[in-house]
């Protein structure tokens, strides 16, 4: 469904192949990335937050709701995964991070993505 922070985290772990504890990417980092995605999406497509410009969705716990138009939830997911991949560790690849973050932008601004 991708309507709560937990659902984004679960899906992101699947793409990151990080489903076995102890996790490589802690929940706190995922929540921070999710919060950052709201600011980025606000910059690119402000109408996604029509009527709540002063209260963008921000999460502090996995149970918190994170609601954007369903058309753009996969873009948000790609941003979270891409931001995790940006970390300087041996299991990440800069190329993959770049692809995912660009995909986030492309999905918000263009049709063919």
């Amino acid at each position: 469904m991708l309507d709560t922070a937990a659902s984004y985290i679960t899906e992101a772990r699947r793409l990151l192949q990080d489903e076995v504890e102890p996790y490589r990417y802690p929940d706190a980092d995922m929540l921070a990335a999710l919060n950052q995605s709201a600011f980025e999406a606000r910059r690119l497509r402000p109408e996604l937050f029509l009527g709540r410009f002063d209260a963008l969705p921000q999460v502090t716990a996995p149970e918190d709701p994170f609601l954007v138009d369903p058309m753009y939830r996969s873009a948000i997911l790609y941003y979270v995964v891409g931001r995790m991949e940006l970390r300087d560790s041996e299991d990440t690849k800069d190329g993959r991070a770049s692809v995912l973050l660009n995909k986030f932008v492309a999905q918000l601004l263009t049709i063919q993505s």
Partner: protein
């Protein structure tokens, strides 16, 4: 044709557009359309009160642009004034006048962008001006920058069509309100 048909067509013609923005631009368009053409006209019915000469007649979520005429079965209302949403009758109603409502013909514009879009215009007007509202909203949406549906060329194309629709609607309203005025007739271009 209805609001639903309009919204669904816009959803299809504007891939990636969110409903909130489609509705907001439709609202902005209706503001321009109604103020320019006075095409949204209604006859308001007001229940009179004995001795009361001032009446707030503005419907909720609307603004009155023009008052065309007022009429009452028994009370003389010629010379009634309209100012800031209040209709001022020249004579106070007597108990006999209360049996009949006061009718006021006005042109309106919706003012509440948060209201249900179906309430912005009566269904027959959504039907009558379907093509105008479609072209106008498409033009406004496509003229936005950096959106999946941005298209300067198509924005100009739909904008031109919208202005033509608006000119026709305006002429039709003039023709409707002044019988014999020839609302659809224009001086030839070279004489203007």
């Amino acid at each position: 044709m209805s609001y639903t048909a309009l919204r669904d067509t816009l959803r299809i013609r504007l891939p990636g557009a969110v409903d909130g923005l489609i509705n907001l631009e439709l609202f902005n368009l209706l503001d321009e359309f109604c103020r320019t053409t006075n095409a949204y006209r209604e006859v308001l019915s007001t229940q009179l009160e004995e001795g009361v000469q001032n009446y707030e007649i503005t419907p909720e979520g609307k603004e009155i642009l023009l008052v065309y005429q007022t009429a009452h079965y028994s009370l003389s209302v010629g010379g009634a004034l309209f100012d800031d949403g209040v209709l001022k009758l020249p004579n106070p109603p007597t108990p006999e006048d209360l049996a009949y409502p006061l009718y006021t013909e006005v042109s309106l514009v919706p003012t509440d962008s948060q209201a249900d879009p179906e309430s912005w215009l009566p269904a027959p007007l959504y039907q009558r001006f379907h093509q105008a509202l479609l072209d106008g909203t498409l033009s406004r949406m496509m003229s936005q920058v950096a959106k999946p549906y941005s298209s300067e060329r198509m924005a100009l194309f739909h904008g031109r069509r919208f202005r033509n629709h608006m000119a026709l609607a305006r002429a039709r309203v003039v023709g409707d309100s002044e019988p014999g005025a020839g609302g659809n007739w224009r001086f030839p271009r070279h004489t203007r």
